[in-house]
Each structure stands twice: as C-alpha cells, then as structure tokens.
Amino acid sequence: MSANVKGVFAHLDCLLTGIDRLEKAGFKDMIVAAPLPRHEIEEAIYKGEPSPVRWWTLCGGILGGSLGFILSSLTALDWPMAIPGGKPLVAIPPYIVIVFECTVLFGGIATLLGMLYYCRIPTKSMELEVCDPRFSDDHFGLVLKDVDESRREEAATILSGAGAIEVTPQPEGDAADEPTEDKEVADVE
C-alpha cells in the first residue's frame, strides 16, 4: 500500500538538502510548498527547464495581432469610402496601433490562461497534502506522493536527517542527525 510522506522545514538550506538526498535515493514524485518563490527550489527540482507558459504568450500575441489587423482592414473594406489623395483603404501605420494593442491584450489573456492551466487553479481540492497554513507563512513543506510502504521509513529518515522539524509518519527511533554537521547542506545566498 502506498501513502504520502510529509516533512515540514523551518530552514531553506535543510529543505534543499532534503530534496537533493531524496532525489539521490531515487524518490521522484515530490511536491514542495513555499511561502515565496525561491530559485534554488526551482533549480533543484526542474534543473532550469523553462515553463511552457511562454508558448501561450507567444501564440496569444500572434493571434491577437493578426485579429487586430484583420478586424481593422476587413471593416475598412466592408464600407469602402472614396478617400481623396490616393490614401489606401487598408493603411498600415494607423492600424499598427490596433495590432499592437490586440497583441498585448490577447498575449496577456493567453498568459493568464496558460498560468491557470499549468498551476491547476482555480480549484477547491488540489494537492490537499500540502494544505498547511504554515506553508504560506514561514515554513517550507515537502511531500512525497504515493510512497510504497517498503520505502516509507527510508523517506522519513532522509527528511528527518535533512533537518525537517516535523515528519509524518514519524521515523522509527528518530534517526534525525544534525544537518549542519553534514557537508552536503546546500549553499544559499
């Protein structure tokens, strides 16, 4: 039977050590909750892989710009007024303003939708395992999802050893060692 293992950290360096040790031990499916964005956490988990939200922004921007140009030109062609002086019906310079505004509008809305999609919000029930008021205040949380019963003790021991102030389920014999004595404690600027 598999279940979650949760560790609560009061210190960022201990959390990073915990992530590192768990990864080395082969644990993959983890969720880290933090009250603020820290590049060290993102780097430790995603190794610099950029978020796909950027593609949403690009596509939204291109779509918006195209729609802006199509809207302004087709409406001008829909009622072709005779303009003296040989001025074109579909005039590029004035339409650039509309194209620009639509690019930003659609790009922004697409970015918002992309962010909501990947963050999996809005939701009522998402990731209940990291529901802990401390994680939006001054603590960090690390949850290992669906850990097999045979490895649960090992995960709890790693978390506790890295310096978690609270581990659920509690490791047997409380194997917590002082993390700072360990040379592997992560460097944080």
């Binding site: 960022l12 993102e42 978020s51 009622w79 505004e101 009522k124 939006s136």
Partner: protein, 441 residues
C-alpha cells in the same frame, strides 16, 4: 528590512486588515461625500443634457477630457513601478509596488468614466467598440479616438490581471491567517493557491511575461492619449513631441500620487519597516528625473513652435503665458518645474512632510498642465471671431471633485481588505531562514 523574519512579514502586513481606525473612517466618509457631489452633478447632466457642462464652442473639450488625461497619467507610475522596475530588478519597488498598482487600477477606472461623461448620451457608450450591428457601421480605425478606446481597454484589462495575479499568493497567506467567513472568501479569491513548486514555477514565468507586456503597453497608452491631440491640426497640439512628453508627464504625476498615498498610509498602518525613507527617496528621485524631462519638453515645445515659423502655432504659444490663461500657465510652470527643484536637496527628499507637500503641488500642477493644453488651444484657434474664454462651471467642478471621491473610496476600501504591501515579494528581500546561520550565531 534585514532583521525581519518571514513570519513577522506576514503578521505585520495582514495586521491592519479589517481593523477599523478613526482616521481611515473619516477619510472614507469624506471620499464618499465627494463622490456623492459628483454623482449629483452627473444626475443633473443626465437630466438636462450636456449643455449644463459649461462647454462654450469652440471649447468642446474641457474639464472632462482634462481630468481623463490626468487620471490616465496617474495610473502610469503604478505600471512603471510594478512592471518596468520589475524587469530592471530595482529592489526598492518591492515595498511600494502593490499600493502603486492598486492606484493604477483605480485611476484608470476613474479615467474610464470621463469619456462616458463627456459623451453626454452615455447609454450609447458601447458604440465605441467594434461589434456587428444592424447599422452596418464600424468604428474608424484610423481615428486616434478609436485607438484610445483600444489602448485604455487593453491597459485596464492587462493591469487588472497583472494586479490580480500579484495578489494571489498574498490572498492565500491571508486565507491561512484569518478565520470563519473571511477564510472562505480569501480561499475563493486566491483560487486555491498552495504555493507548490509547480505553481511558483509557472507563476513566476507568467509574471515576467506580464511585466514584459505591460512595459511597452504603458508607454503606448499615454502616447495614444497624446495622439488624441497631436493628430489634429489644432495649434499647440499638432506636435511630434507629444508622446514622449505625455509619457514623462504621466510618470511624474503618478509618482507624486504614489507619494501622496503612501506617506499617510505608512504612519496609519505603522509600516515604517516596509516603507522606509529609502523607498520615498527613490520615488522623489524618479519625480526629479521625470520633472526635468517634462521641463525640457516644455522648452522644446516653445523651440518647435518658434522654429516652425507658423504664425498660428507661435501665436498659441505666446497666448499661453501672456493671455487670458496666463494664471493657469504660470501655475503649471511653478508647480511642475520650479517647486520640484527642491527635490535636489537630500534634506527635502528624506523629509516625509516636505515630500507630501511637494507631491500635492505636483498633482495640482499636472492637472493644470492638461487644462492648459486643452483650454488654451481650443479657446484661441484659427478664427479670432470665435475666440472665447472658457472656465469650468459648478457642474464640471462637482464631477471633478466626485472623481477624486471615487478614486479615494476604492483605494481606501482596498487597503483595508487586501494586503497593500506584497507579502511574498517582501519575503524575497528578507534573508531566508537558514540552519547554517543559527549554528554560526
């Protein structure tokens, strides 16, 4: 800020929420009273028509358009602080950006009312937007007024989204601190945010893109507003310097408004640790810079008018400082070019009392700048037979007062229900809790 802890930051910023205070209550009542004056004047205008608004042909743009440009301009500093300074990684923005962004939203919301008020038959305001209709008519996309509709709507939408996503993690922090009904409300408003690694990763990417989208947007919006004037052939308006001149003026007035709002807020909420003199000095320096650009633009306008050798253009520029509106012109010059020079002195920049006074002076000066541009040019156009002396009447002044009431009402409500300093971003500036530190000490 270095001595703060994460827990302290959350506590300090959430503490003033919902706590009634006499000063805040009085300010809110005053704002609502001002709004009521404006609402009453609008009611009279709706009943009796635009004639009550004191327009005097050919001055068909008066206080409403002046105030529209004033409020759009105010909004610009908020986006500058929240988006442009984010991209420049200016550390001082963290403490002030949330309140500035709120100011942007409420200022643009206020500005948006004025074209509707000015249009008279406000129930037809939706005609401004392109939609298929039985009249088979479309807006003229070559008109700067239609560009303006697009620019202001986009600006309001994108700024509001940017503002809201900035609030999400802080609303989650508030959710975890309050109890009962408030918990449910903030829980819904923060959309179920948990601050997981996955969420922060996409959130920060999206935030960066929003900052990148808002940066050219903010410059475009006031450029488009300036084209409302510059695209016409009216003397005093038809100038290529208008877009940069308007953008600099907008940021100047907006920074002054940020000072006007934050200085009382700092003492009211006891946020001396978060809004430090250092923050205010940076804002004062920004005022000094944009004020200098603005003064230079005023001088350049005169040079262009003289060098153009166009008698109508030069006539308008001579009329401004010497004609009927000389009082408005010199008020503008003294408020925007002379008084802000005091900011060169560090003693003034670091004195909240003086900063507050100068910020009020700049606010007055910037309103009169727009009045000066609009009224003098229209009242003194090509045909001397049509020259008039336009002054706002009671209805227009009532609506102007109402707009301040509307703006301050929203701002005062906001500061009591939402964290007005960005909790997560302040934490980014605080040294993280490290076990290594504890061992060393």
């Amino acid at each position: 800020m270095s001595n703060l802890t994460y827990g302290q930051v959350t506590k300090d910023i959430i503490r003033p929420l919902f706590k009634p205070s006499l000063l805040h209550g009085l300010a809110l009542v005053t704002a609502i009273a001002c709004l009521s004056v404006g609402a009453y004047c609008w009611k009279l205008q709706l009943e009796q028509g635009l004639g009550v608004a004191g327009y005097e042909p050919p001055v068909m743009w008066g206080v409403y358009i002046t105030t529209f440009v004033f409020w759009v301009g105010i909004g610009h500093a908020g986006t500058l602080i929240s988006a442009i300074l984010f991209l420049f990684r200016a550390r001082w923005r963290t403490g002030v950006y949330r309140a500035s962004e709120a100011m942007t939203i409420f200022a643009v919301l206020t500005a948006g009312l004025f074209p509707i008020l000015h249009a008279g038959r406000c129930w037809y305001a939706y005609w401004l937007f392109p939609y298929p209709n039985q009249r088979q008519l479309w807006p003229n996309f070559k008109s700067p007024l239609v560009w303006d509709v697009f620019a202001i709507s986009t600006y309001l939408t994108i700024s509001a989204i940017f503002f809201y996503i900035g609030l999400i993690p802080d609303m989650a922090a508030t959710r975890d601190k309050v109890k009962g009904f408030g918990k449910r409300v903030y829980g819904a408003l923060c959309l179920g945010w948990r601050g997981t690694d996955n969420q922060w990763r996409h959130y920060m990417a999206a935030y960066g893109f929003f900052a990148a989208l808002c940066t050219p947007l903010v410059i475009s919006v006031h450029s488009v507003v300036s084209w409302d004037f510059a695209m016409s052939s009216t003397p005093g308006w038809h100038s290529t310097i208008f877009p940069p001149y308007f953008v600099a003026g907008a940021i100047f007035s907006g920074c002054a408004m940020v000072l006007t709002l934050l200085i009382p807020m700092r003492s009211l909420f006891k946020w001396e640790d978060y809004l430090t003199i250092w923050h205010f000095e940076r804002l004062a320096q920004l005022c000094l810079l944009t004020g200098a650009i603005l003064t230079y633009a005023y001088a350049t306008e005169y040079f262009i008018a003289w060098y153009s050798d166009n008698p109508y253009e030069w006539g308008t520029f001579i009329y401004r400082p010497t004609g009927d509106y000389a009082w408005a012109f010199w008020l503008m010059v003294s408020c925007n070019c002379i008084f802000p020079l005091a900011l060169w002195f560090k003693k003034v920049r670091t004195s909240l009392k003086w900063l507050f006074i100068i910020s009020l002076i700049i606010n007055v000066g910037m309103w009169f700048e727009r009045f000066n541009i609009i009224a003098t040019s229209l009242a003194h156009m090509f045909d001397p037979g049509a020259w008039v002396y336009y002054l706002p009447n009671r209805i227009e002044m009532g609506i102007l007062v109402g707009s301040f009431g509307w703006f301050f009402m929203w701002f005062l409500l906001f500061v009591k229900v939402m964290p007005s300093v960005a909790i997560a971003e302040i934490k980014e500036g605080v040294r993280p809790p490290l076990k290594a530190d504890e061992v060393t000490t």
